[in-house]
């Protein structure tokens, strides 16, 4: 990789005439966001944060900020923020009976209970739960294996339906950590750089990046490209503002994506719109793929997806290889993961990007390199303990790809005590009882209530902490600690940024500081002494010291540039080719086959859908969930006044025709119900959804409501994850129907 930076940049710390200190830094979490690292200037007077502005010198964000960073002060100084450790008697779980304690007291308690539990039930009886890609995730595996010494690190989303399917396809077909469309993130001047080639099209599939900025993609880069002429091709069951600016929008039925992707392969292959040279030189299994997609005709897909056939032909032809070299880039979202057919869907899309010849070329789809953080290395645990990780026997893809438990089998272990009893929980920046990652959160709640001992790290009191924890440790915001943030953990073109500590609040520690602290307290063989030491080690793989990074604040990282497969920059052994057994893009995947799956992509309907005869009568509508909002990051920000003002209520989008039939008006409270749960949200009557679809918000709980059990800040009231069944997942263990559920809706 090669890093570039601005030698002439302003000093990291400057003092204004009136004594105000201005600190240049990059953002991460908490408050939460993915690893994007937007440029920030923090204004500090007498140790107090007085103002937040964007940093015009940041090569990517150039001073622009979203409302969440702009509202930072309200977060930092919120009266409800947790700023010192607290403990609670185990018999009072669920009650607001918290007592302040010191870090020493909290640590002593944690050390004692962890040792007892390990002694009696084994280290495997302890599970560390993480959420999505906040800063905590960067250190969570190390915390689990090096500090606590457990083999069980759990991300509680059913079917690992965030990254599971995508990671499977990207790793198995290419040996790449992640794919992203080329927005020039690796070039010093990004989309204004003379070396930047504008994509002709961006294929935006199951994604709305303006609000989500997922996994390191600064969403508004897409707007810059569109202003310069890039045309947007969107696949999404919902219309949104972006689709009104798109060249084509295929408004498919939820979870029929796999059918469309196979039909697109059918089109480019049968019409000869493939890059024959690339296929010949770099692909494996093309003839087999060609044979497989014959049956997946556009006519068949049109019927499946509920769209016009000619739309599919038009889209396929735009994505085909053309000798004029007009590239297109692939931008695929979490909706492709939240689908039991997801592993096959993404397999098809990766294959499409490959055979049309725009893989790792300027303006095309950039192939990622390994993520730069400790996700699977350095575990000091003996192999027999490591192999006790829940779900590894049933779903062998886990140790290959992700090194965590299987989420659904974790719930079953919690409930049944098999394969072994679980006794301790550590919630590491996750609010899994709220409608975020877990499916059937009430079941998780009931099972987790029985834990012997529960630790949580959090910034605010949440339903999860209130219901379950015995001790809670306060975490510092990104303005309050040193750290590092890299675009999608350094696997994609983008930035490497420093978090530069500017202020201090209470007794909070950063996720990294907490990892070091508990590592030293819990593990006599712990090798790290300070957070600074760990950061220096972190930077070794990047090629810059933390001190230099801190002073320069942000670097541009090209991850090695384009055509990496031709230059030996993808494979671990440094050889030319892709990171697969054959060295080629495995359209016929040996990896899938080794895991007992079909090596070629196929289509499968989601099982429990509204169209099924036994459900259609009672539950005629389809429910999708989780469309994002600017004002919040999953379940965060509910208590931040300026942000809550932007989006005060959980909204469910209902088509005007459907609303009229149901006697529902905009703003009405409505019930959304299905065999697994019943909730209430506020109707937004809007023609974004198909008439047979409703789109409900995720992540809602109400900090202003009664904190204690059974209310838990009203966490069950709008908890759409209650409507998602347990373990309706794909064959390899990945992909659950978060975005495709049967339901009925009626006025409350």
């Amino acid at each position: 990789m090669s890093l570039t930076w601005n030698e002439e940049c302003s000093p990291m710390r400057q003092t204004l005439e009136d004594g105000t200190e201005v600190v240049r830094t990059c953002a991460w979490s908490p408050p939460g966001c993915h690893a994007v690292g937007c440029g920030i200037r923090l204004f500090v007077k007498d140790g107090e944060l007085v103002k937040v502005e964007g940093d015009p010198e940041h090569p990517l964000t150039r001073g622009r900020l979203c409302p969440r960073c702009l509202a930072l002060k309200e977060y930092v100084y919120h009266p409800d923020r947790l700023i010192y450790p607290m403990k609670r008697d185990r018999t009072k779980r669920g009650q607001n009976a918290w007592e302040r304690c010191t870090w020493d007291e909290a640590t002593e308690l944690i050390v004692k209970k962890t040792a007892e539990i390990k002694e009696t039930w084994g280290a495997e009886s302890i599970i560390v739960y993480s959420g999505t890609g906040r800063e905590a995730v960067r250190y969570a595996f190390a915390l689990t294996s090096q500090a606590i010494g457990s083999p069980n690190h759990c991300y509680a989303q059913s079917g690992w339906s965030c990254m599971g399917p995508r990671q499977t396809a990207m790793t198995m077909l290419l040996g790449s950590a992640y794919l992203e469309y080329d927005y020039g993130g690796g070039l010093p001047k990004t989309w204004d750089d003379s070396a930047f080639v504008l994509p002709e099209y961006v294929l935006l599939w199951g994604k709305e990046p303006l609000k989500s900025n997922p996994d390191g993609l600064w969403g508004h880069a897409l707007i810059e490209l569109m202003k310069r002429g890039t045309k947007l091709l969107v696949v999404d069951p919902r219309r949104n503002w972006l689709t009104t600016r798109s060249d084509q929008h295929l408004q498919i039925r939820p979870n029929t994506d796999g059918a469309l992707a196979l039909a697109l392969l059918h089109i480019v292959i049968t019409e000869g719109l493939v890059d024959e040279e690339f296929v010949e030189k770099w692909c494996y299994g093309y003839e087999e793929l060609k044979g497989r997609v014959q049956q997946y005709t556009p006519a068949w897909a049109a019927e499946k997806c509920g769209i016009a056939e000619d739309e599919i032909w038009a889209l396929g032809r735009k994505l085909g290889y053309n000798k004029d070299g007009r590239p297109w880039g692939l931008c695929i979202g979490v909706a492709t993961d939240q689908n039991p057919n997801g592993c096959q869907l993404v397999q098809s899309l990766v294959s499409l990007a490959a055979i049309t010849g725009y893989l790792d070329v300027p303006g095309g789809t950039v192939v990622g390199v390994p993520m730069q953080f400790d996700m699977n290395s350095d575990s000091p645990l003996p192999a027999d303990l490591v192999n006790k990780c829940i779900g590894w026997k049933e779903y062998p893809i886990l140790p290959v790809l992700l090194n965590t438990t299987h989420p659904d089998l974790t719930l079953e272990a919690l409930e049944t005590g098999k394969p072994y009893p679980i006794k301790m929980a550590w919630f590491d920046s996750t609010n899994l009882l709220s409608p975020t990652c877990s499916a059937q959160p009430k079941r998780w709640h009931d099972a987790l209530r029985r834990m012997e001992f529960v630790v949580a790290k959090e910034a605010f009191m949440t339903p999860t902490v209130m219901a379950l924890a015995d001790v809670v440790l306060p975490i510092s915001t990104w303005a309050e600690h040193d750290g590092v943030v890299m675009t999608n953990q350094g696997c994609q073109m983008g930035i490497v940024g420093a978090l530069n500590k500017a202020i201090e609040v209470g007794e909070c520690k950063s996720d990294l500081e907490a990892f070091i602290h508990f590592g030293k307290a819990l593990n006599p063989n712990f090798k790290w002494e300070t957070a600074q030491q760990y950061l220096d080690h972190d930077m070794e793989g990047v090629g810059v010291t933390w001190d230099d990074l801190s002073e320069k604040v942000v670097y541009t990282n090209d991850i090695g540039g384009y055509h990496k497969h031709e230059r030996g920059l993808i494979r671990g052994d440094g050889e030319v080719g892709f990171g697969t057994a054959t060295g080629r893009v495995e359209l016929w995947s040996l990896g899938y086959q080794n895991l007992g799956e079909d090596p070629l992509p196929y289509y499968e309907d989601t099982r429990l859908v509204a169209q099924r005869p036994e459900l259609a009568g009672e539950y005629p509508l389809t429910l999708t969930t989780g469309a994002r909002y600017f004002a919040s990051f999953h379940s965060e920000h509910r208590q931040i006044p300026s942000l809550r003002q932007l989006t005060p209520d959980p909204l469910v989008e209902i088509h005007p025709d459907t609303a009229a039939t149901l006697g529902i008006k905009d703003g009405d409270e409505v019930v959304i119900e299905n065999p697994w749960g019943s909730i209430k949200q506020i109707a937004r009557v809007i023609p974004t959804v198909r008439p047979d679809l409703v789109s409900a918000a995720h992540g809602w709980w109400f900090p202003e409501k009664d904190a204690e059990e059974p209310s838990l800040f009203g966490v069950w009231e709008a908890n759409v994850n209650q409507l998602i069944p347990h373990k309706e997942i794909g064959k390899m263990g990945f992909g659950a129907p978060y975005k495709c559920l049967p339901c009925k809706v009626y006025k409350a």
Binding site: K51, V52, E53, G54, P56, R62, G63, R64, L65, C66, P67, L70, A71, K73, L210, G219, H220, I223, E224, M226, K227, R239, W241, T243, T244, R245, F630, A631, P641, S642, Q645, L646, I686, P687, T688
Partner: protein
């Protein structure tokens, strides 16, 4: 002395409302006061299958075009923080030329 204004390219305003918060931060406006506010126009299905849907940032009577910032040589805060970079500040004659050059979906405000 030239009259200055704000050029808003509403083809690309994504409705993020960062301008609202940046303005409040800069001028210390409380919860119920704005110097600029995002307005949602639509979505209207005037033609079956297409949606007319625009977001617009509109300065209020509280907007002073960030006099102090401009005097310091900085951009108005909404201009700096706009995620889609659709707000431009300058003399109206210059902005009018840009409006004409763009030719569609652009408005200019003198607050």
């Amino acid at each position: 002395m030239s009259v200055n204004g704000l050029l808003i390219d509403y083809e690309w305003c994504t409705g993020c409302q960062s301008c609202e918060l940046a303005c409040k931060n800069e001028h210390g406006f409380p919860m119920n006061k704005w110097g600029i506010k995002m307005v949602e126009f639509g979505p209207f299905e005037m033609e079956p299958g297409t949606l007319e849907w625009n977001y617009m940032a509109v300065p209020t009577s509280y907007c002073d075009l960030c006099e102090d910032r401009v005097a310091r040589g900085e951009q108005p805060t909404c201009v700096l923080h706009c995620l889609a970079n659709v707000i431009e500040y300058g003399p109206v004659e210059e902005l009018a030329l840009k409006m004409a050059a763009k030719g569609k979906r652009v408005s200019m405000y003198v607050p």
